[in-house]
Symmetry: C2
Subunit: 209 residues, 2 copies
């Protein structure tokens, strides 16, 4: 999949207008794109890199809601543009990110003129809604040890991951201590080895026969 994957199915004329009318911005890793309460000035599309969207509760705890990957439009921004309300969550770049910023006017025009563009935008919205519904179910009903195991399984191929217990707690929407204890348990079981800021997976007998 090449850059700007979302627009690929669109007619060339539309793609050209997007290229001409939008502004491309490069942002370093770890930057905050917007915070809760900010207003927004255009529709961002992530061209390369990943943006993490998370929210912080009154208690000061945070949880990762979803990620905007290369080729995704920021649905949160659409909501802001439409209702005029500020963002409810915050967005942080996880890697160096290239963002294409469509001005509101162009966005409006394209929504009016291109069925394909509308399709792309609405589908993106639908997926986000789905993501959040899934997350609600996870948080409300699933056990922490299961969720942690699943998260780890998704990152296992890397052999080791650099992450603090605190960050992992935010991924799962729980407390640091809970993560620490569950990880310690897994370490005792010989599934992994813990270091400061790193989790190393051990090649246990689970991988192959």
């Amino acid at each position: 999949m090449s850059e700007q994957g979302v627009w690929q199915g669109l007619p060339e004329a539309i793609q050209a207008r997007i290229r001409d009318g939008s502004q491309v911005v490069d942002i370093a890793a770890g930057e905050v794109l917007f915070r809760a309460g900010d207003g927004c000035r255009g529709l961002p599309l992530v061209v390369t890199g990943t943006v993490r969207v998370q929210m912080t509760g009154a208690s000061g705890h945070s949880i990762v809601l979803y990620r905007v990957e290369a080729g995704d439009v920021c649905t949160l921004s659409i909501g802001c543009l439409m209702t005029g309300a500020g963002y409810r969550a915050e967005a942080v770049t996880e890697s160096p990110v290239t963002v294409q910023l469509l001005p509101v006017v162009l966005f409006e025009q394209l929504m009016a003129q291109s069925p394909e563009f509308r399709q792309v935008v609405m589908a993106a919205y639908g997926r986000r809604l789905d993501d959040l519904m899934l997350l609600v179910e996870e948080v409300a009903f699933r056990r922490m040890d299961e969720r942690l195991a699943e998260w780890l399984a998704g990152h296992r191929p890397r052999g080791e991951i650099r992450i603090t217990h605190q960050q992992l707690a935010v991924e799962l929407g729980t407390a640091r201590e809970v993560v620490s204890r569950l990880l310690k348990e897994l370490e005792h079981q010989g599934q992994l080895q813990l270091g400061r800021g790193v989790i190393r997976f051990l090649a246990s007998s689970t991988s192959s026969a």
Copy 2:
């Protein structure tokens, strides 16, 4: 606010097309409009009544995600129409409901032709996203007794409410036993009086000075 509040800002010509092209359906209370996995056949707008949208986890537990009130379009259906995927949640009427069903073709036309229509639809989407984000925060971080108290406070003006502990548990996404115990506690404190399927609020000294 009269019927079909969402369309009110729209040009009369558009409103007429909506009236002519859509089908109006009356549904009794307690009916299931769609279940998880169903496909969908048009864009429903709730004209009168309330529809509850909830999902059920693998564990068999359910949680109420949000309600579609009179004047709201069903964003979940838009997602289904766009992506072709089935619903992830289920919708149940809470009262006798009148629904206006826009055929997909008309929906597409209106999205293309009416900026006001687009605005209404996108804003509805934005609000849903907000609702769900708020819910995630609630479920992940807030205490059950607080959430229950808040729910009760919202229904207090009615004097008494007819609801089972099980239903209340689904509202909050918790277990029936938890609700029972918390309610019992409030009863001991003299804030309310419990009956089979009913909660009566007692006029304690909290209301006025």
